[in-house]
Structures are given as structure tokens and as C-alpha cells.
């Protein structure tokens, strides 16, 4: 089986459908290690990718007013036990454009793999970007994933990201997102991660509500078991009149796992408001007993609660 087929097999295991890559109306980019396997642009959507040291450099630009109906699929992965992959990606959505991106990040056999993503995203006035990132790391826990993103949202723009890593081991994960929202812009950051074994999960997300009436929410859902560690830092700054922000972190721990939540809220304008809530602990007793009263064993009940929380 060649690398592409191996990656597609992993994509299928992670719930993806390789058929989307054959659809001429769907843009995509597939990168295995530092090799660009396949890409497709569309009218109004430029996709440029070039090999760079240790990985690839990608530029994606959506032209003004273009609203894509089908999602753009990016598929990044390493199919061998060892390897590095570095993705430098620059995404620009021009004013009043909109697109949804689905990123498949696949490391099915990883024992010593490092994946570094460095993203810069510019969202123009009135533009909207949805970004879903689905990871599959296999059973060994030998992956180090370091996604870093800097996102700027223009007036009235929208950005939502949804990072999910709930199948297989995590390995070491260090998310670092910085988002700045201008006047009337909206940002939603969601991360869902399930850690096992000795997985090490560190998430730092910062939202700066710099424009009037900008709104933002950071939502994190983490479950950790065995000896896994999770540390979540959610930072929201309200710096303009009417800015509204919220940090919402929930973490469930089992066994010897350790979880920390560090919400940091900062307000520099008297008409801004930022709130936070964090809940860390074992599974809620009332939820557990309710499901057991349906005949589920304690283990089955915990599975239902954790799966529900992780979406």
C-alpha cells in the first residue's frame, strides 16, 4: 500500500471519506510528510503549496465575496513510525467571503513523530471561516503535535475552530492559539481531547476582543485517564465597549490523571464584560446514578458521559 492509500485508510478510520478528494467541486490539499500528494483549487479559491525544509509551505486565499458551499479538505499526516512534518500555512479570507475547512491530521502508526503547524489566518471584514481539525494518532502515543495559530478577524467577521482528538492516544499536544477580534467580530474556539496512558495535553488559547461589540467564547472539554496530564489556559481580554467574552472549561479525570484549568480574564474597558467557568473532577455523581438507573454499569455510564462531553 502506498503512502497515499495508507493515509486514506487512516482518514477512513478517523471518520473521514476519501471520496471527497475525487469531487471536482471540492478543494483539497493532501500532504504526507513533506510530500505534496494532491491539491485542487477552485474558481475564487487559490491553493498554493510548496516543499520547504522539513515540510511544506501553504498559501490559501479566498477571493472577496466568494462563498464556498463545499468544505475545503486538508489532509496532513505521517504514515511511518518515525518522521517530522512542519506545515507553515497562511490563509486569507477576503472581505465578505466564507468557507469551511476540515483538516484531517493523521499519524496512524506514530511512535516517534513530530507535527508542527504554524498558521496565520486573516479574516476580512464580513468574512466567515469555520475550521474543524480532526486528529487520529493511533495507539502508541508516540506523537508530538504542536499547532500554533495567529488569527486576525476583521470588522464583522466570524471565526470558529473546533479541534477534536478523541480517538487513539494523544501523545504530547501543545496547542497555542492567539485570536484578535475587531469591531462586531465573533470568535468561537472549541477543543475536545481525550487523554490516556502518559499523554500530555497543554492548551493555551487567547482571545483579544479589541473592537467594539466583539464577542468570543473559549470552550474546552477534556477527559483524562490513567496517568495523563492536561493543563488548559484560556485567556480572554475585553478591551472595548460592548465586548463580551466567556471562558468555559470542563475536565473529567479518572485513575491517576491530573487536570488543571487556568482561566485568565482581563477587562480594560468599563463597558466590556468577560466571564469564566471551570469544572474539574470525577464524573458527576448524579449523572452517573441517573444512567445506572437505566441499567448501565458504572463503566458504561462513564463512557456515555465522557463521549457526550467530548461531542
Amino acid at each position: 500500500m502506498n503512502e497515499f492509500d495508507q493515509l486514506m485508510t487512516a482518514m477512513g478510520a478517523a471518520g473521514g471519506d476519501r471520496a471527497v478528494l475525487d469531487d471536482p467541486a471540492t478543494a483539497h490539499l493532501v500532504v504526507v510528510g513533506s510530500r505534496i500528494i494532491s491539491s485542487r483549487a477552485l474558481p475564487g479559491l487559490d491553493v498554493e503549496a510548496a516543499a520547504a525544509e522539513g515540510g511544506v509551505r501553504v498559501k490559501i486565499r479566498l477571493r472577496e465575496g466568494i462563498q464556498l458551499t463545499a468544505p475545503v479538505h486538508t489532509c496532513f499526516g505521517v504514515v511511518h513510525r518515525e518522521g517530522d512534518q512542519r506545515i507553515d500555512i497562511n490563509i486569507v479570507l477576503e472581505p465578505d467571503s466564507s468557507a469551511r475547512f476540515i483538516a484531517h491530521c493523521l499519524f496512524p502508526k506514530a511512535e516517534r513523530v513530530r507535527h508542527i503547524m504554524d498558521a496565520h489566518v486573516e479574516i476580512g471584514a464580513g468574512a466567515s471561516m469555520q475550521y474543524q481539525e480532526r486528529h487520529f494518532h493511533g495507539p502508541h502515543g508516540g506523537v508530538e503535535v504542536i499547532p500554533k495559530a495567529v488569527v486576525r478577524i476583521g470588522k464583522g467577521g466570524r471565526y470558529s475552530s473546533d479541534f477534536t482528538l478523541t480517538d487513539g492516544r494523544v501523545g504530547a499536544l501543545a496547542i497555542d492559539y492567539d485570536v484578535e477580534a475587531a469591531e462586531d467580530a465573533v470568535v468561537e474556539l472549541t477543543a475536545r481531547v481525550f487523554g490516556h496512558g502518559s499523554d500530555d495535553i497543554r492548551i493555551r488559547e487567547r482571545v483579544v476582543l479589541g473592537g467594539e461589540n466583539a464577542r468570543g467564547i473559549i470552550k474546552t472539554r477534556i477527559a483524562v485517564e490513567d496517568d495523563a496530564l492536561a493543563e488548559v489556559t484560556g485567556i480572554t481580554e475585553g478591551n472595548a465597549a460592548g465586548a463580551r467574552g466567556h471562558v468555559d472549561c470542563m475536565e473529567i479525570i479518572r485513575d491517576r490523571a491530573v487536570a488543571k484549568a487556568i482561566p485568565i480574564v482581563s477587562v480594560t474597558h468599563p463597558q466590556a464584560k468577560v466571564t469564566h467557568e471551570a469544572a474539574i473532577g470525577s464524573v458527576d455523581k448524579h449523572q452517573l446514578e441517573t444512567l445506572m438507573a437505566h441499567g448501565l454499569t458504572p463503566e458504561e455510564a462513564v463512557d456515555v458521559i465522557v463521549k457526550g462531553m467530548l461531542g
Binding site: 445506572m292 438507573a293 437505566h294 441499567g295 448501565l296 455510564a301 458521559i305
Partner: protein, 238 residues
């Protein structure tokens, strides 16, 4: 024939006796109302029967269909055919109503159960059982889950609290449905019109059953706030 028997149940919380030699029997297929003022141990009794954590009798026996329940876990009791609609139902992030109603049941199409509690299936099946539901909606879904489970014994802990008055008919319809399917019901309530639908009623006061009989006779004693046992000392309306 008694389906559920509670024999001489004693239960304490932080050294305070909550149940003091309580005796109760619920017949198979019977709707049995349990009346009592706040703090008299009605919900405690429900948790003891269901087997919730921290709710084990100090002494006395809980017998269901000939099986002693005292040492069984909640799910083991549930698998014998006991279920409960909680007074304050839990909420679950990411769990759809459709999935909640089919957990632990053989029911694949939960539409009927939802309709029975006055909720339109098309509007609710794909919603989450989370905090976006109102208290009344969540209570109705809890009742629907009891219907879907088709239990031998359903414990309904104040199904009428948090639901608007117009919904009394929905609760009565649930009781009729359970009765029609041969389920016994232990119905904890404060409301006469709900208790009146029962076949039998008991009043709990001072940790004991102090009065049993027809729903109307027990309700009359309950409303007088003077039970036979304490002559108002415990039952008196605060």
C-alpha cells in the same frame, strides 16, 4: 401480591434519624402515592429503594419481587425492573434526547414516549439533554424515559414539581400508561389531584408511615397537618 416491601427501615444522616422503622408495601401493578411535608424523608426513601450512593439502610430490609435489594448496586436494581424519575433530573452535555430515551431499553423508536408527556418528537428527539432545556421540558423527558424503560416499579419523585398546572393531565396520562402496562408506581407528590389518581396512598411523617388507605382519606389527614402519630408536632405546617 406485594412487589416491593420495606421492612422496619432505619436510616440516619450525620447521626440524625431520618427513617425510623418505616414499613411500606407496594403491590404489583399498583399506583401508590406517598404524601408528606418537606423534609420527612420521601426522597430519601426513593434513593434507598433505587440504591443511590450513601443511601443504605442502617437496618431493615428492602425486598423487591422476592429479592433482597440492600446490597445491590443501582444498575443491578434497574435490571430487576426498578427505575426512577428524579425530582431534579440530571443534564448531559452532548447526549441527545433520542439516545437518552433508548439507554438501557429495547425501545428503538422513542417517539411514543415523548408524545405521551406532551412533547412533539420532531422538535425534541435531536435536542441535547442539557441545560438548554427548561426545567419543565427536562422533567417531561425524565417521565418519557420511565415510560420507555417499561419498568416493573417506577419511582416518580415529585413529577409535578416544576411543571405547569396545565400539564397535570400529561402526568395523569403517564400514570395511566404505566398502570395499563402493569407497572407499579411509587408516586411522591404534594398535589391532591395527582395523588387522587393512585390506587392507594400512604403518609410519611417523622420517618415512619403514619397513615395508609385510599388517596382521599390519606390526603384529608395530610391536609389537616395533624397525623395520627405526631398529632401535628412534626406534620404542622410551617
Amino acid at each position: 401480591m406485594n412487589l416491593l416491601e420495606l421492612h422496619d427501615i432505619f436510616f440516619t444522616v450525620s447521626g440524625r434519624e431520618v427513617l425510623s422503622g418505616l414499613q411500606l408495601a407496594v403491590k404489583a401493578g399498583e399506583v401508590h402515592a406517598l404524601l408528606g411535608t418537606n423534609g420527612t424523608g420521601k426522597s430519601t426513601l426513593a434513593y434507598l429503594i433505587m440504591g443511590c450512593g450513601g443511601y443504605r439502610p442502617v437496618s431493615g430490609g428492602i425486598i423487591f419481587a422476592g429479592t433482597v435489594l440492600n446490597d445491590l448496586k443501582i444498575h443491578e436494581r434497574a435490571r430487576l425492573g426498578i427505575c426512577m424519575a428524579w425530582q431534579e433530573p440530571a443534564r448531559f452535555e452532548g447526549l441527545r434526547v433520542r439516545d437518552y430515551l433508548t439507554l438501557g431499553t429495547a425501545v428503538e423508536e422513542p417517539e411514543l414516549a415523548l408524545s405521551m408527556v406532551g412533547l412533539e418528537p420532531a422538535r425534541y428527539l435531536d435536542r441535547m439533554v442539557d441545560s438548554a432545556l427548561s426545567g419543565g421540558e427536562r422533567k417531561r423527558i425524565e417521565l418519557a424515559s420511565v415510560l420507555a424503560l417499561r419498568p416493573k416499579l417506577a419511582i416518580l419523585d415529585e413529577p409535578d414539581s416544576g411543571i405547569d398546572m396545565l400539564s397535570t393531565n400529561d402526568i395523569l396520562r403517564v400514570l395511566e400508561r404505566l398502570r395499563g402496562e402493569g407497572s407499579a408506581v411509587l408516586l411522591i407528590t404534594h398535589r391532591d389531584e395527582i395523588a387522587a389518581a393512585a390506587d392507594h396512598a400512604s403518609q410519611i411523617c417523622g420517618g415512619k408511615i403514619v397513615c395508609s388507605g385510599s388517596p382521599s382519606s390519606v390526603a384529608a389527614v395530610f391536609k389537616s397537618r395533624k397525623c395520627i402519630s405526631c398529632d401535628g408536632e412534626v406534620c404542622s405546617d410551617e
